[in-house]
Assembly symmetry: C2
Homo-oligomer: 144 residues x 2
DNA sequence: TATTATTAAATTGTACACAATTTAATTTTA
DNA sequence: TAAAATTAAATTGTGTACAATTTAATAATA
């Protein structure tokens, strides 16, 4: 390919549609997440908490691909809403243990319909969705 | 599917790997973009400028899926680096016309190798890359 | 044509996102 | 075991993102 003409066109990039698509879908979550007073990042954090109940910041960051610079203020906010509890591990005080609260557990029932509401606003066949899913994880795995 | 158990698991979301993958790839750009003193958003903006030479903020925003709240400060920064020129349209002063400068044009040659350097750090077959590309644009189109 | 509506950027405010540094705790090792 | 290295969060600083509002210019209309 002629390096000077095409490689730097937006339409020839793979990263750009990924970036744009991610943002646009996250934006579709907003009205539903507003109803339960969560941002998207807080929502995916709660998704982990609903599943594991308790986790430290490091492990949480690994699951979410986020670092403490993002998670520390976010977890403080979730704590102020009483959805999680933050406390240092007695065993190793470097670790901060995040634990879901009852109020956090209760929030789950309000969130359970959100994924289908969002996927309803974009038409994508089951097959393509599965293919997309597996390619994305393939990329994520290959980059680690 | 049992609503209360699986729909809210991170691993069952399509948006999450999209969000994570986008961020991780953008992060791979950083070391190369640092060398030419651009952020990723500035870089995709310059990609449009290399292609069209001149455009107003509204049209630029449409191409990049960004609004004036993001673009205004970003374009001011690109202007301060002398990569673009910002001036009101004489024909309609509501429009701000962004024009690439000579220095901006010259930057292209330094950026031309970046896409292949980034794609080198993730293994993805041509076929899968193409499939991914087309599904992403299908989603983007279906959401407009 | 004066008023109203619309449009395009800019501004404001909140929340990420992440690199780099700092702080404090724990391990390793000389 | 005391010093050095490592580790986990927190902090700092820069740069997005985007909703909502404001400002200024232009277009539509009563």
């Amino acid at each position: 390919m002629d390096k000077n003409s095409d490689t730097l066109k937006l339409e020839n990039q793979l990263c750009f549609p990924l970036y744009a698509c991610s943002k646009e879908i996250v934006r579709r979550y907003k009205p539903y997440l507003d109803e339960i007073d969560l941002t998207y990042t807080q929502y995916i954090t709660m998704m982990v908490m609903w599943e594991v109940k308790q986790i430290n910041v490091k492990e949480l960051g690994k699951k979410l691909f986020l670092d403490s610079g993002t998670l520390t203020p976010l977890l403080k906010k979730l704590e102020s809403k009483d959805y999680v509890k933050r406390e240092r591990s007695k065993h190793d005080e470097r670790n901060l243990i995040v634990t879901i609260t009852e109020k956090g557990e209760a929030l789950k029932s309000k969130a359970v319909d959100i994924p289908e509401k969002v996927s309803a606003c974009m038409t994508l066949s089951e097959d393509k969705a599965k293919a997309l899913y597996s390619v994305l994880y393939e990329i994520l795995d290959s980059m680690e």
